[in-house]
């Protein structure tokens, strides 16, 4: 990689001491985030993603390991001397300051000339569409407006990287979707590195260039959205990102026998875990051709979801598989509850985890 790394974490560990016990919140994370990337830390709550970000911001000192910004070791540099800014989950706007004063805070702290402060704050309020509301106090604004103030307050400083801690969590769905696009647009415009912490996988997939999926203090998988979705490195990732059907068993001669059917796993032998995305599966009443993976089952539930139908199909051993079928032609379902059906999918859609 020729580009300079905006943020590097080198085997970073964070331990807390609580009543004589040591709790590891982050158990050794190594990351290398190039400049200009939209990078997401994705994981369930308590996985260590927020702690990791707070170490980048400087609010927590790592117990072990190094943090580098633009190649410089900042492990022991306080947050006010780090050229990164943060958008807090609850925004953390200064309740006693107007919108203008909130946004101008960072510039004033850096002794920016007054004229420039005026110009840049004005510009930034234009960008986030808050021009004309400079005198408002935070508590007089809606959640979406507060969110934009928080964004403006961080971006106006033109940081080398912007850290966002679940910034859209408090917004309603429509607004959240609009802001996702907005954030992406702003990121492209200002061209700075975004590190985005979220537990919402669709948000991460929509916006990120790369995603680090974290679980229990460790990075389980690091890669682009497509890679993470299509080729999950672990069962956890497969389960956490989207919906997955997990099938396990011993394969012989590139074929895995399961109750009521077979899964083709060319080139694999022995114990395997296979993941199949529900939208890759075809549901039908005829037995499919030999070259497909196929399994028999009974429809347990059909849910109409507008653009597609979701089927829950119970296999002979009691396991359930989820199948999505596009409503491409008409809205009538292929099968009803209680019908006996065949599920089939192509060999390349069976992804063997860890391969």
């Amino acid at each position: 990689m020729t580009e300079l790394s905006a943020i590097e974490l080198e085997d970073v560990v964070k331990e807390y001491h609580s009543h004589g016990e040591v709790v590891q919140a982050v158990k050794g994370v190594t990351l290398d985030i190039p400049e200009g990337e939209f990078f997401s830390l994705l994981g369930p709550s308590g996985c260590g993603k927020t702690t990791t970000m707070r170490m980048i911001a400087g609010f927590e000192a790592p117990s072990k390991g190094l943090v580098r910004l633009l190649g410089q070791d900042v492990t022991n540099v306080p947050p006010n001397k780090r050229d990164v800014n943060m958008v807090f989950q609850s925004y953390a706007l200064f309740p006693h300051m107007s919108v203008w004063d909130n946004v101008a805070f960072g510039l004033k702290q850096r002794k920016t000339p007054q004229e420039e402060v005026k110009r840049r704050v004005g510009e930034m309020l234009e960008i986030v569409d808050l021009a004309g509301r400079e005198k408002r106090m935070p508590r007089q604004m809606s959640g979406g407006q507060q969110q934009r103030v928080a964004l403006a307050r961080a971006l106006v400083n033109r940081p080398r990287a912007l850290l966002l801690d679940e910034p859209l969590g408090a917004l309603d769905l429509k607004l959240r979707q609009a802001m996702q696009i907005e954030l992406k647009r702003i990121q492209r415009e200002v061209g700075i590195t975004f590190v985005y912490v979220t537990h919402d996988q669709s948000e991460a997939l929509t916006m990120s260039d790369r995603i680090a999926v974290m679980n229990d203090g460790l990075v389980e998988q690091l890669g682009g959205p497509h890679e993470i979705y299509e080729r999950p490195a672990t069962a956890f990732v497969a389960g956490f990102i989207g919906t997955s059907n997990l099938l396990t068993g011993a394969a012989t001669g590139g074929e895995l026998k399961i109750a009521g059917g077979r899964v083709l796993v060319p080139g694999h032998d022995g114990e395997v875990t296979v993941t199949v995305r529900p939208e890759k599966i075809t549901i039908g009443t005829e037995e499919p051709a030999r070259e497909s993976s196929a399994v028999r089952g009974t429809v347990a539930e059909v849910v109409y979801l507008g653009t597609y139908n979701s089927y829950a199909v119970r296999l002979a051993d009691g396991a359930e598989m989820t199948v999505f079928q596009q409503n491409a032609h008409d809205a009538t379902a292929t099968a009803e509850r209680g019908d006996s059906v065949w599920l089939s999918w192509r060999a390349q859609h069976s992804y063997v985890i860890g391969s």
Partner: protein, 283 residues
């Protein structure tokens, strides 16, 4: 029902304040305009000169009280703020324990505390006597019967009333707001000055109100710890009322004191930029 709620909430306190404060105060206001003496009786003469006479006679004590009260308040603020700050942000789940410890000496009667101070601060007592024996202090060094002792006593006796409201205000400052300031390049000092301090001002205001006012009116510290020229206005009111039975003068002085304090609080609130003084006064 909704519209009645505030009235219902305020009603018990209103009754209390109306019956036990307003009525007696009105009576006192009337007394302050009367003339006469305890034996022959007092008559209402609308003698506003009572005020002029009382202020004329006791302006040195009045000014001294404001000075001592002000000094003590500043001292309390300087001493108490860091304590409130530490408890609010750093004491974790032991906050209430620390607050309790700070207030505990005040569950023991003030007379006992004062007697103990007298003993501790005695010219040749266990503290100064020892230091004098070691030659660390001149023989005629003394703290009792000085202005310092009076202001110190006021500071001591009202300190918890400064710490508690500041603590209450600081306790609700979101720590993330402080982090946000640091994230935006503010040093710890700047984050304190620009964010924590302004957010704690309502508590500071309440603390100043709760300490400056009673400290200025207090007669006890001056009587016990003061010397020959430390008499405060509270002592004068006490003498006029109890010894001289000059109820009009005592009442006039009390109202003057309250008026001066009210003006003082008003000016202070303005200096803080509070729009509505009475709102702020009750904050």
């Amino acid at each position: 029902m909704r519209r009645l709620t505030p009235y219902l909430l305020a009603l018990p306190s209103w009754m209390w304040l109306a019956i036990f404060l307003v009525v007696p105060m009105a009576a006192m206001a009337s007394v302050s305009l009367q003339t006469g003496n305890a034996i022959d009786g007092f008559a209402m003469t609308f003698s506003f000169s009572n005020y002029a006479d009382a202020i004329g006679a006791y302006s040195p004590q009045l000014l001294r009280s404001l000075l001592y009260g002000g000094l003590a308040t500043v001292a309390m603020l300087v001493i108490g703020y860091p304590v409130a700050y530490w408890i609010a942000f750093k004491a974790g789940h032991r906050k209430s324990v620390y607050l309790f410890l700070l207030l505990l000496p005040f569950f023991v009667s003030f007379v006992l505390r004062t007697i103990s101070w007298n003993f501790l601060l005695s010219d040749n007592g266990i503290l100064f006597g020892t230091l004098k024996d070691w030659g660390l202090l001149p023989a005629d060094f003394h703290v009792l019967a000085t202005t310092f002792a009076v202001v110190g006593g006021l500071t001591y006796n009202f300190l918890p009333f400064m710490i508690l409201p500041i603590y209450v205000a600081l306790e609700r400052v979101d720590p993330r707001v402080v982090e946000a300031a640091q994230d935006l390049y503010a040093t710890r000092a700047a984050a304190f000055r620009r964010v924590v301090l302004p957010l704690s001002l309502p508590g500071v205001f309440a603390g100043v109100l709760m300490t400056f006012v009673p400290a200025t009116a207090d007669p006890i510290n001056a009587a016990i710890l003061g010397g020959t020229s430390n008499t405060m206005i509270g002592n004068i009111i006490q003498t006029e009322y109890l010894t001289n039975l000059d109820y009009p003068t005592a009442s006039a002085l009390s109202f003057t004191l309250m008026a001066v304090l009210l003006v003082g609080i008003f000016v202070y609130a303005r200096a803080l930029g509070t729009e509505n003084v009475l709102e702020a006064a009750a904050r």
